[in-house]
């Protein structure tokens, strides 16, 4: 029986250094951390897969499909617990799917080397965006603008860690839409779901509370990923042997991560987020620089 993590025929150019079982096991961990931080399992998996010499475009395409599973799996429980703001998600999805289709089309044609640097640069922006706001648990009183009020961008949820009902109002819906278009563009192009950037836009521009931000981001990521995956489907870049174990693993990991998210304080989640983003940036820069 050949149930090793590494393929014995890795020297064959059509095979990989890692097999489905290896991808499955790593994906479980990636899905868990991805759900907890709102990053999504895909953004953690791509740097890991390229470390095993999987072509970056195949990794991105498989990740795009995987993200649908991660997002939908964890979003299901958040929506039922009413932490996700579904209306805000519907509004913001208009921008992310448009961006994702354009971004995925760019990736289908661009030279792979650029993708590593775009990946690292994009993650760097979200790392910077959140690092200066580590002390904010909730956004506090927000003066809602007219457009956001018209869109009914407001809500409430019960925060288990803080043991209170949190009411909030969002603002800057027009700028939030623009930010989400850029998030969608990056998501489609890099196959990462762009959870990090979406969370930044939600919290810094729209003024969502942290948990509403990460769960609404999870919800939006599924549709954004579908839009990107539709382009990769057309390009023939989605391989079942890679996408299927990734989808199974990240979904299992994300379901576990989603179940325990509400037991953590926002600050703990944010520190975890920062550590992971930093590690991903280092890996992608290294790979981009050393690529032959």
């Amino acid at each position: 029986m050949n149930l090793k993590f590494m393929s014995p025929l890795a020297s064959n150019r059509e095979l990989t250094l890692i097999n489905m079982l290896g991808v499955l096991i790593i994906s479980i961990f990636a899905g868990f951390l991805g759900a907890l931080t709102g990053l999504g399992g895909g953004s953690i998996m791509i740097p890991v897969l390229v470390a095993f010499d999987i072509p970056v475009k195949y990794a991105i395409a498989a990740s795009m499909v995987t993200i649908v599973a991660t997002s939908s799996g964890s979003a299901a429980s958040y929506v039922r617990e009413r932490i996700t703001n579904v209306k805000a998600a519907f509004y913001l999805e208009m921008f992310t799917i448009t961006g994702a289709i354009i971004g995925a089309t760019i990736t289908s044609f661009i030279a792979p080397r650029y993708l590593y640097f775009f990946f690292a640069a994009f993650l760097l922006t979200s790392f910077y965006g959140l690092s200066g706001h580590m002390k904010e648990e909730f956004p506090g009183e927000t003066r809602q603008d007219r457009f956001s009020r018209w869109l009914q961008l407001e809500g409430s949820y019960y925060d288990q860690a803080a043991r209170k009902e949190v009411e909030y109002k969002m603002t800057n819906a027009h700028l939030g839409g623009l930010g989400m278009f850029i998030a969608g563009l990056a998501a489609g192009m890099l196959g990462i779901g762009a959870g990090a950037f979406k969370v930044s836009v939600h919290e810094l521009i729209l003024k969502m509370p942290s948990k509403v931000s990460s769960t609404t981001s999870n919800f939006i990521i599924g549709i954004t990923a579908l839009a990107g995956a539709s382009v990769y489907f057309a390009s023939g870049l989605i391989f079942v042997g890679l996408a299927a174990p990734m989808a199974v693993g990240t979904t299992v990991g994300a379901l576990v991560g989603g179940r325990i998210l509400n037991r953590f304080h926002n600050r703990v989640i944010r520190y975890l987020f920062l550590v992971i983003v930093f590690a991903l940036i280092v890996q992608m820069l290294y790979k981009g620089i050393t690529l032959q």
Binding site: T16, S156, V240, V248
Partner: protein
């Protein structure tokens, strides 16, 4: 400021669609991985075109995959592909259900928003 009962129904509907779609697709994919192993005696990832999701458009590909399963012309790769197709269809169905919901409650504002998302997604899945 709490959500009204009608919106809670939408939340529940969306939640069920997502969870059923994801669980079904994950179980099918897991089955596909087992079948792949018993057919090939390995779990190698192969990058050949016959192992890729590819077709004239997504809906035709989905129909062909489902048809292959029903007439018994399936392979482990077909099973894996069917799991992925089901997974990709899940958020699409969630948008479709939201359009129907906002149409039924006559919320023109959010009917327009969800309809926009549905049209763009459909076009992207059909056009190449």
């Amino acid at each position: 400021m709490s959500k009204n009962p009608s919106e809670e129904k939408l939340d529940l509907l969306i939640s069920y669609i997502l969870i059923v779609g994801v669980i079904a697709s994950v179980l099918i994919e897991a089955t596909g991985i087992f079948e792949y192993y018993y057919a090939h005696r390995d779990l190698d990832i192969v990058f050949k075109q016959e192992f890729a999701l590819k077709g004239t458009d997504f809906f035709s590909y989905a129909a062909q995959t489902i048809q292959a399963l029903f007439v018994g012309k399936w392979t482990p790769v077909t099973v894996l592909a069917f799991g992925l197709v089901l997974l990709l269809i899940t958020p699409y169905v969630r948008v479709l259900a939201s359009v129907v919901y906002f149409g039924l409650v006559r919320n023109v504002k959010y009917l327009s928003i969800t309809l926009f998302v549905l049209v763009i997604l459909t076009a992207s899945l059909i056009l190449h």
